[in-house]
Amino acid sequence: MNIRVLYFGRLKDTAGCSEEQLPWAGGNTATLLAQLRARGDSWAQALAEGQVFRLVVNQQVVRGEADIPPGAEVGILPPVTGG
């Protein structure tokens, strides 16, 4: 089972895409971030503490940690700059 990961803002440049399908054995938002940070220095820096504003699981904004069910859509949001 996969999850669909969406990237926004500068994270699109890090990922080289706006979204990807990721094999998912289960876990929570911290599991996902740890898995992505392990991809290398550019990922570890882009997803460092303070560089990630929030995660969104199935269109629900997560404050803290949340379970990511298989098949979920997960948005990873860098600090926002609207207005």
Binding site: G9, V56, Q59, V61, G75, V80, T81, G83
Partner: protein, 152 residues
């Protein structure tokens, strides 16, 4: 409270939006209008365009939540928020916040509250596209976080 939120690529007509909101504002004695525009000379190299992206669905829900929070703090009659996305040239409109309330103090405060949280909570990202062809995602500003934090 009446609340209408739009995320759109096109511009907006201030007079038309004001007239439309007043249809829902009852006997409100105050209407505060905030319109934001794209600045050309924030940086050494002039800006060709400001590009904005957002998270469809989540953006609208977050702005609704911000407006609901505002309505718990002040007696608001009606709120209208329009935020543009896509490529915007210097001088173009970028955001509109209209707040109608019984009295001016609540309308002023709520408009400022909405803007502070639009900048720090709603999932929008700005990229500066410069005249020399270079591009840069805008960094979040600590001053914006501080402005939102003062509301407690």
């Amino acid at each position: 409270m009446y609340c209408h939120i739009s995320i759109q690529t096109g511009g907006f007509d201030l007079a038309a939006e004001e007239a439309a909101l007043r249809q829902h504002a009852g006997d409100a004695g105050a209407l505060v209008v905030f319109q934001g525009m794209v600045r050309a000379h924030d940086t050494a190299t002039p800006l060709a365009a400001l590009f904005l992206e957002h998270y469809p669905g989540v953006t609208e829900a977050e702005i609704q939540r911000i407006a609901s929070n505002a309505a718990q703090r002040w007696p608001l009659a009606a709120v209208r928020v329009i935020h543009r996305v896509g490529s915007l040239a210097p001088g173009e409109q970028i955001v509109l916040v209209l707040v109608a309330s019984g009295h001016r103090k609540a309308a002023f405060a709520a408009a400022e509250y909405l803007m502070d949280y639009l900048k720090t909570e709603a999932p929008f990202w700005k990229r500066e596209d410069f005249v020399d062809g270079s591009r840069r995602w805008v960094d979040a500003k600590a001053s914006d976080d501080a402005a939102a934090a003062r509301w407690g």
